[in-house]
Amino acid sequence: MAITQLSVFLDNRPGQLAAAVRLISQAGVNIRALSLADTKDFGLLRLIVDDVPRAKSVLSEHSIVLETPVVAARMDDVSGALDRILRLLEATQINVEYMYAFTGAAAGSAYVVLRVDDAEAAEAALHGGGVSLLSDEEMDEIV
């Protein structure tokens, strides 16, 4: 199963990132996770939010927004947990485009969001290895 990430195009100019984040907070939307990838000319802001339609609506006024399906996996917050997940993907030659990870508030939990070239195969590989994947609802419930 996949979760919905929002990808936002940002000109690499002062204030662009802040403006995007401000729009989301003014709309009362909560960001659960984010990553910002940069090039010389532009940035790509990737967000996991608790209200996708609302966030997409306000961000579309500022820039271009895309909904991208990504895979979110839960792991133990211990050394080696991420390594294990990546080995499962490597074994089936699934390519990871990008990823970002964060710890949960509850002790012992961590999460990783992955964009892979074959989401279905990734889900099968991770499931097969006993890794639990999150749905949109479950992402919302993380504390």
């Binding site: 195009f9 662009q16 090039t39 000319d41 790509l44 500022h62 895309l66 991208t68 964009r115």
Partner: protein, 435 residues
């Protein structure tokens, strides 16, 4: 003491020159009317026939030709003779995708090369000189023109074309080049590289430079003269009329003599087309007097200029034009290459972008820079950085194919390019090109 390549004509009296022009124009107009249906039609529409043209004073009766006509006539519409009589083409940018192709018979080539020879001798050249030609060779007329002129004078010609500056300098020093021919910004760059390599101006054998194909200021001239230890001469031309050598500077360095025995010049008001009195600032219009392959009558150059018939200390009697002071259209010259914003727009539309773009031109050091900012359409957005970068690369390739140079492409968010209420201001040129 002045040297002339063709002393008699270069120092001929006004009466003699006028007599030559009057004889030639009658023949050239009849020739064009009989050989170029495209222009015959324009003349017929205007109600002018060859019989109405008795002297150069009657040129004002003839219809104008513009870049748009040359584009519409591509490729053979303005050809003046059978292809079997033509020995070469040269080509220059059109305003959109269609280029302009000029045809030359051997006689046209000889005439053109003689004009360039006049320029080289005016710069002090003779068969004792070694001429380094760093203008581009190929479709561009710069390289071929100065190359041919150098041959006619009998100089040793180094056909370097542009680029590979290390090799340019190696040959310049090892083969004792005495005259340098290239764009002024390249000359300035060569000066910098020579200094970096530890050469002083007195270490090279150069005595003169013949620089053109782009606008340059008096300040830039002095800077080049100091850094290379030479006298720097201006040269002017356009592919449509022949190439470089339509006009050239003499030792007075105060304007370029137009080769009036081959080209008749008028200055017009760009908005009304009215011929302006001598000394007025206006658009240069050229009429070829003895071309065969691609004869053009009243071709509007879009260059804004002033003419002067003041006596010149060099002894030449042909009218002088000052450096062009700007354009009456939106053409840009970037690194010596003619670029029209409309060409850029054509590429963007072909590649599926909306025409929300901005062109920025600047000069960094001695190099012109060209940046194009265009808005990304929502349906072109991708979550992958590599996709967006691939788009920019693809655009750069398409631009290079169209323009001959590659701008740096920047994709930007929608609605970031200012919309204007009236005429869109799409070009920002930060260079100071004119005095």
């Amino acid at each position: 003491m002045s040297n002339y390549y063709q002393k008699e004509i270069e120092t001929a009296s006004r009466e003699t020159i006028l007599a030559i022009q009057n004889e030639k124009i009658v023949r050239q107009v009849r020739y064009v009317y009989e050989h170029v249906p495209y222009y015959k039609k324009l003349m017929d529409e205007k109600g002018v026939s060859p019989g109405d043209i008795h002297s150069v004073d009657d040129i004002r009766l003839l219809p104008f030709l513009s870049k748009a006509d040359l584009r519409d006539a591509y490729p053979y519409g303005l050809l003046g003779t059978d292809l079997r009589n033509c020995v070469r083409i040269h080509s220059t940018s059109g305003t959109t995708g269609k280029r302009v192709v000029a045809f030359y018979t051997q006689k046209d080539i000889d005439m053109w090369e003689e004009c360039c020879a006049r320029a080289i001798v005016a710069a002090g050249g003779s068969e004792e000189d070694v001429v380094q030609v760093c203008y581009g060779y190929g479709l561009f007329t710069g390289g071929s023109g100065l190359h041919g002129g150098s041959h006619k004078v009998g100089c040793l010609t180094l056909p370097m074309s542009s680029g590979n500056t290390d090799r340019q300098i190696q040959f310049m020093m090892d083969l004792n080049a005495t005259i340098l021919c290239c764009t002024p910004s390249y000359a300035a760059y060569i000066g910098e590289v020579l200094a970096e390599k530890g050469y002083r101006p007195e270490d090279n054998r150069l005595k003169a430079g013949i620089f053109g194909a782009e606008p340059w200021t008096e300040e830039m001239r002095r800077s080049i003269e100091t850094s290379l230890g030479i006298k720097a001469y201006d040269i002017y031309g356009l592919t449509e009329i022949s190439g470089p050598g339509v006009a050239f500077e003499c030792e007075a360095q105060s304007g370029m003599h137009i080769n009036e025995d081959h080209f008749y010049v008028e200055v017009i008001d760009p908005d009304t087309g009215e011929v302006l009195p001598e000394g007025s600032k206006g658009e240069l219009v050229f009429t070829t007097l003895d071309k065969e392959g691609f004869p053009l009558l009243r071709y509007r150059t879009r260059d804004i200029c002033v003419l002067s018939r003041e006596k010149c200390s060099c002894g030449r009697t042909h009218v002088k034009m000052r450096k062009p002071m700007g354009r009456s259209d939106d053409m840009l010259i970037i690194r010596g290459v003619n670029v029209f914003p409309s060409q850029i727009e054509t590429v963007l539309l072909n590649e599926g972008y909306a025409p929300n773009y901005r062109i920025e031109v600047d000069r960094v050091g001695n190099n012109d820079t060209l940046d194009v900012y265009v808005e990304l359409n929502p349906d072109q957005f991708s979550d992958k950085i590599s996709d967006i970068q691939a788009r920019e690369k693809r655009l750069e390739g398409a631009m290079r194919a169209m323009l001959g140079i590659g701008p740096k492409m920047h994709l930007v968010a929608p609605r970031t390019i200012t919309r204007s209420e009236g005429k869109a201001v799409r070009v920002i040129d930060r260079r100071k090109l004119h005095d």
